[in-house]
Amino acid sequence: MIPELGNFAIVLALLIACVQAFCSLVGAARGNAVWMSVARPAAHALFLLVVVAFACLAYSFLSNDFSVLNVATNSNSTLPWFYRMAATWGSHEGSLLLWILMLTGWMFAVATFSKHLPADMVARILGVMALISIGFMLFLLLTSNPFERLLPPAADGRDLNPLLQDPGMVIHPPMLYMGYVGFSVVFAFAIAALLSGRLDSTWARWSRPWTTVAWSFLTVGIALGSWWAYYELGWGGWWFWDPVENASFMPWLTGTALMHSLAVTEKRGGFKAWTVLLAIITFSLSLLGTFLVRSGVLTSVHAFATDPERGVFILIFLIFVVGGSLALYAWRAPRVGLGGRFELVSRESALLANNVLLLVAAASVLLGTLYPLFLDALGLGKISVGPPYFNAVFVPLMAPALFLMGIGPIARWKKAGIPDLGKRLKWAFGVALLCALLLPFTMGRWSPMISFGLLLAIWIIASGLVNLWERTTQLALVGGGRRVKYLKRLPRGYYGMLLAHFGVAVFIIGVTLVNGYETEKDVRMKPGSTVAIGGYDLRLERLEDMVGPNYSGIRGVVTVMKNGRVVNMMYPEKRLYNVQQMPMTEAAIDTGFTRDLYVSLGEPLDGGDWVVRVYHKPFIDWIWGGAFLMAMGGIVAVSDRRYRLAKARNQKPEAVKDVAPA
């Protein structure tokens, strides 16, 4: 009954989406207020129906209903309840339903938080999003229905892939999808702008917070995926340039360019065509990612079970949505108009260069990811494009962008001078250079790559601090008193920017130091033996048998000592999951602010010894810490006063105004 209810909810949602798309878009084109007024309530209804459908699927998993094919394939009665919950989105069909839930969730949010937007704009935006949801719901109902029955029901399920039985797995897809799908909002804004022919700085101000929130979610989603791979896969790596990883990274790169482009459109009215194009490209890359993961066109550890029929459907959907929007862009973009004028050296030109660099970086990642397919399709042979290529190409492309991160925020709008910039930033550069040259010696080894990475990171931090100093100085000059007093006067948008840029610097430090200084030892151990690494001594006390809810295995007990004193205990495990009979290594990680210790059990050898792999990874958590700071920066920026319009209208003007937000 429940699965059928869920299925029916989606069918109903599909019908409502069709009505909504038609009424909203045609109504907006004709200026028919009644038709346009369908948009908001339809969006609310749509979301509620999809919530019902999702709840039905989740209920089937939680109640172990093995007459549902999806539950029988991906769950098991011995699976703990929170993993049964997560198994709802652990398969192709279930994750598609999650996509639709997120999409309608964002539609609900747009419908609720858009009271200040003109009716035709809201109608168009919701109409476009409804069209997209129609495509996904058709895809679900026709090719990938999670509510399909299995008759006769299975006695028990095939269990969730042990790799996915993990807290990281629970949270990573929802975060990622909130990001991917969130970009559909600014995409819809862009299409609405092209359709209506209205594209101005107000449009940018409306769409900016939606973009920033989506971007923050995507940042967290990607970081969680990377962190999960690190501790789950057992070999200590955190990024492999796998096609599916790239599929999430490309929209992040163009989404970053989009955020910065929106800033210019909002403040200076410029970059309009750029911004619209970036909005279309970013969401198109999200959709392309969906295609790559589910079509079997590329090999990846992440890929869902594939089916050519599904690939064809998504590709056709892509042709309509992306092809349609790019055609619309080609037709209407010339009318969008040129923005303001600015000099060769100015904040605008720095941001434009930033756009170009990020776009070229995204294009390069796309090239590398699809190249094996290009050659194979042309019959020119089969090659692999892996980390050596991406690292060689991506890092040099990003370096200039990172350098610009120090200059952009401090350059003046419209016209800045190089001598002036040089004067203001020379100390920041000097400090960065000095630290970058000297710090590696404190870690034990100097290399040009390590120094270069540190230079970029410290440059970003130092120039950010110079910026802060200058801003508070300006305010203090006008209003009198100490600089510190003005720290709280600076807008949150500004602090969000500083925090996010600071996060990038932290990320770079993490990557540079862990690549430069990590050490690894592969040893054979028996109870009592020790291994020294990174200034610590690790002693294997004993190995004990253990049993879990749906697995059994061996657990090692390891004492961590520093200078003879016991600092921590670690418990690496080797599990065998009962149902799928799949062996899994659960590495033990001692997380620290300045380093991770990582211990994983290898294979047992004759004589009762075990192969144990230990790693010392300095500053590795700064990688995800930095990403988290970036996302936080985005959230702080969105909480800026100027987006809280209702409050702002009631505020009395103050004696001293803040400087215009960054």
Binding site: L315, D376, K382
Partner: protein, 174 residues
């Protein structure tokens, strides 16, 4: 206007490739050894302990190299086809017993039939690596001069045999 068409054009090109990609198999590894001399080997025979089979011994005839193992399930699928082919006396089939145990392999052949004119033992898989073997079963067609002319990955099917392998063998034998 022209400038603004570029993103659409790029998209169309990409879609073209993605469409083509839907009918390709990204995991199939084509062999670089086609039209190259078959790597030399000198391996012990499975059925005659102590004797050795060399690539030199096989020169002057067209032959099939079939990589198989007793632990390989798809090998069992294609095995009847090979037994049949051997009965037809079209081309000698030599087996490469890959990463297997002698006694177990002999038992497997006794049970399922033995189509092989000769069988080489590759315990560690080294010869397999030389031939670019990455999964079992795999079948090669080698001509009179010892040059590899065709490789089939995966179990043989009647179509592949009749449409590709047998015609090729006949051509090479002429």
């Amino acid at each position: 206007m022209a400038r603004h068409l570029i993103p659409l054009l790029v998209f169309v090109v990409i879609v073209g490739f993605l469409w083509a990609g839907l009918s390709l198999n990204p995991r199939e590894v084509p062999s670089p050894l086609i039209d190259k001399p078959a790597p030399e080997f000198s391996l012990p025979k499975l059925r005659e302990q102590g004797a050795v089979l060399r690539t030199d011994d096989l020169r002057g005839q067209v032959w099939l190299l079939n990589v198989f193992a007793s632990w390989c399930t798809p090998c069992l699928e294609e095995h009847p086809l090979l037994v049949d082919l051997a009965k037809r006396n079209v081309v000698p089939v030599y087996g490469l017993n890959y990463k297997d145990q002698r006694a177990v392999a002999l038992k497997w052949l006794r049970r399922h039939g033995d189509p092989y004119t000769g069988i080489m033992v590759d315990v560690e898989g080294r010869t397999g690596i030389e031939y670019g073997v990455y999964g079992v079963p795999e079948t090669f067609v080698i001509d009179k001069r010892g040059v590899i002319r065709f490789k089939h990955i995966g179990p043989l099917t009647p179509q592949v045999l009749e449409e590709k392998i047998v015609p090729l063998v006949k051509r090479l034998q002429a």
